[in-house]
Symmetry: C2
Subunit: 470 residues, 2 copies
């Protein structure tokens, strides 16, 4: 002991950094190792976690779920009308982003978007009428996710809206999404003024049919390859879709020109897509939904198959936990705000677009997208660090989505709720930020993190299912 203190000390400090800081202040050499106890030291959760670790049944279930995700082949097959093609869509039903939520609890942008959808459908002739209808219990509100669909921000899909139809050619499951309306005053941010409704009508009457004819002529489009190519072009296919949108247009146009669509319509459609660098987002989300639904429903699997927010709650679904949602309060995103806005103006985290991170792209593939930091903040090195951090909470890497700046390593994918709870590392999400009031629109973008509470609940549920099956 005496000998120890006569030598020059080299301290390794694990966990609480204040000890290391004291050593450093006293002039000592100290290496700080970041560490926190599993499950933030919560003993019940730790015990539940322990029940789920190194269980051959769970490992096998995860391998099966992850393989289904890896082998999925999302193909854009066509464009349909929501009321006709979405499974279990009722006549007076409106779908929304995130986990289930009642009308009276919804955030401003979501209520605004639903009012817009009612006006678009012609179920009411003005905003007060639409409000009365929405609050009167005559309209069913259900999450997009309950209908094999996803929608960004408010994520509102009503029966007569056109939707992308994607099929996973490897497993046969389908996925759907609405169309991206562009920026500014748009339904997905809760706007419902006449210009917004007119645009929705144009989308239904011109954009949808024109794209349907184009995609039919194309005979299907392999979205996974297109997304992989976009990752080599600086997109992460969540908040940056400029390359993917361009590639999509490049594939589509020759087919469009072979259809009988009037050239004025083609010109308008091309103008619309060419003027919206986020156009591909809804297709990226649909492809991700298709890949993850292929992995859903494997008993015992702790792999996350959806992360989604409704502007009030953040929810996740897990492959081995069926249709259950694990929810908690949605965080407010602290990002880069457009001039004149601050965190005080922001709605809590909103939309189904975190399906991209769940599928190993978006924030998980940030290393592919150094330029994204100009939009969500940070430095290109942060982007690489974020991707690296996600390798600690995922089941593996997706060899189809390679990251040039990381020597073409695959993107980390297949979030394991056990690993999230064990390490305390929260899945990162690149996201847009909506104004809390309906219709103001996007006011910024940034990086948010999925709340740990969702994952802790999932671990408890899986452990409880494990005990009851023993």
């Amino acid at each position: 002991m005496q000998a120890l203190f006569q030598e020059k000390l080299q301290v390794l400090n694990v966990g609480l950094s204040s000890f290391a800081e004291s050593v450093a202040r006293a002039g000592g050499t100290v290496l700080q190792v970041e560490w926190a106890p599993p499950a933030q030291g919560h003993q019940t959760v730790c015990r539940e976690l322990a029940q789920l670790v190194n269980l051959p049944a769970i490992e096998a279930a995860n391998r099966k779920a992850f393989d289904a995700y890896l082998t999925a082949q999302p193909i854009l097959r066509g464009i349909g009308v929501a009321g006709k093609v979405l499974p279990k869509m009722a006549e007076r039903m409106i779908l929304h982003g995130g986990p289930p939520i009642a009308w009276e609890n919804m955030c401003g942008p979501m209520q605004g978007a639903i009012i817009g959808a009612i006006l678009y459908e012609g179920w009411a002739k003005d905003i007060p009428g639409a409000c009365a209808l929405a609050s009167g219990g005559e309209i069913l509100f259900e999450p997009c996710h309950h209908h094999a669909a996803v929608g960004p921000m408010a994520g509102v899909i009503s029966p007569s809206m056109p939707v992308w139809m994607v099929v996973d050619a490897a497993h046969g499951n389908q996925a759907f999404s609405n169309f991206n309306e562009g920026s500014g005053r748009v339904l997905r941010f809760g706007a419902n003024s006449p210009d917004v409704i007119d645009r929705l009508k144009w989308i239904g009457q011109v954009l949808g049919p024109t794209l349907r004819a184009g995609v039919e002529t194309l005979g299907g489009l392999d979205l996974k390859t297109l997304m992989a190519q976009a990752l080599h072009m600086g997109d992460e296919v969540h908040n940056r879709n400029v390359a993917a949108s361009s590639l999509f247009l490049k594939r589509l146009i020759p087919a469009l020109l072979r259809t009988t669509t009037p050239s004025a319509d083609i010109a308008a459609v091309v103008d619309f897509i060419a003027g919206n660098d986020h156009f591909f987002l809804n297709l990226s989300m649909t492809a991700c939904k298709a890949m993850l639904d292929a992995a859903h429903g494997v008993p015992g699997s702790s792999m996350v198959t959806a992360m989604a927010r409704n502007g009030v709650e953040f929810g996740i679904r897990v492959s081995g936990a069926g249709d259950q949602w694990f929810t908690t309060r949605a965080p407010v995103v602290d990002g880069l705000f457009f001039p004149g806005y601050t965190t005080a103006d922001a709605a809590p985290d909103l939309g189904d677009s975190a399906i991209t991170e769940t599928a190993g792209v978006g924030g998980f593939a940030m290393a592919a997208s150094p330029a994204i930091v100009k939009f969500v903040g940070g430095t290109p090195q942060d982007a690489i660090d974020n991707t690296t951090a996600m390798t600690h909470i995922t089941l593996g890497r997706n060899g189809a989505f390679t990251l040039p700046s990381m020597n073409f390593a695959g993107s980390p994918a297949g979030i394991d709720v056990r690993k999230v709870v064990d390490t305390g590392i929260q899945p990162i999400i690149n996201t847009g930020i909506a104004h809390r009031k309906a219709g103001v629109g996007q006011i910024g973008a940034g990086i948010t993190r999925a709340p740990l509470a969702c994952f802790t609940q999932a671990v408890s549920a899986l452990a409880s299912a494990m005990r009851s099956s023993q």
Copy 2:
């Protein structure tokens, strides 16, 4: 001295690494510093170099030339016919890539391309007739660079070919290039079979006029902004132009659809461009030529304004050295060969496309393009290292061309012949490799380096001019 050898030695070795290796082999600690004497130790050149260093007149001239390059605004203005719009183009004249060369000294691909151009022009009715004409002295052969033009590989431009017309809106100078024909059997690799001539005719009769109408409707296209955007999308706009080609198409198509061009022609043109990820290369080169011509002709400037190869010789031009070329034997590129080919099949370095590196993109902006290493070899770190190395031989950085992976630093640009000779660091060039025989086509791609001898000659010429003006 005795004290020295009693302590543990820490050796710093500058220059020849064999000394360091000996120390390391003997178990010593050694740090090797890469260094070579200026001008490879050539005393005459060293003296000439010394005459050019820290001269206020040269520094001022370089600042003027570099500023002209930085402030250039290359705008695509239209499409014309070479014989009508290129300055000093004669009736029976054929332009070629690289520095001047006589017919009998040209490499296989260049002779093949010239034969193709003669057939395309209808000056001869078969290959023997074209050969006789070419060797008979009736056709004038001049470098593209002598006519404000550039062309990739063989770089052949004949009077009736359509050409891109780019204007530097800041300085008024114009630049031109031919159209990219795609891959495989194409004129620029020396192919001249009937299918090649037919494609050239289609380019002249359909592609050129269609694009002319589109660009007219567009009212000009800012190429610098488009290139900057492509650098954020993984292109280096020399050997990787997939993003730039897509962005170009996205801008062009809405304009095309507003013209009266028959939709069958638009469909064919869009198919052609969408199927060729290198389509933008010739536009990138023309923009670079426009930016560098703005910097050319500043008395006393040691800034390189062109690097070009004709398949036999490598040549450079320097702002302060007028129309003079400084040439030496062109190197053979040691790159990644397509299956079945080796260095033995390769033609020496060929084409005007090194104008991109001269303008601070291409190999100089490799850090923007980690995916390029799948094409030219190496790792993404090599790409960053290559860009970093170029900062030692350039006059500054181009703030318009930022590199995301280097924290958005500008690309190194403005090669200074003095710095090249002083450091011995050769400008790197990302290039395609042509088969040495006419018409076989591209057989690989790789990184090559501009030969030092060109720069040494330029230093001698500048020093000599300096002495005679004193």
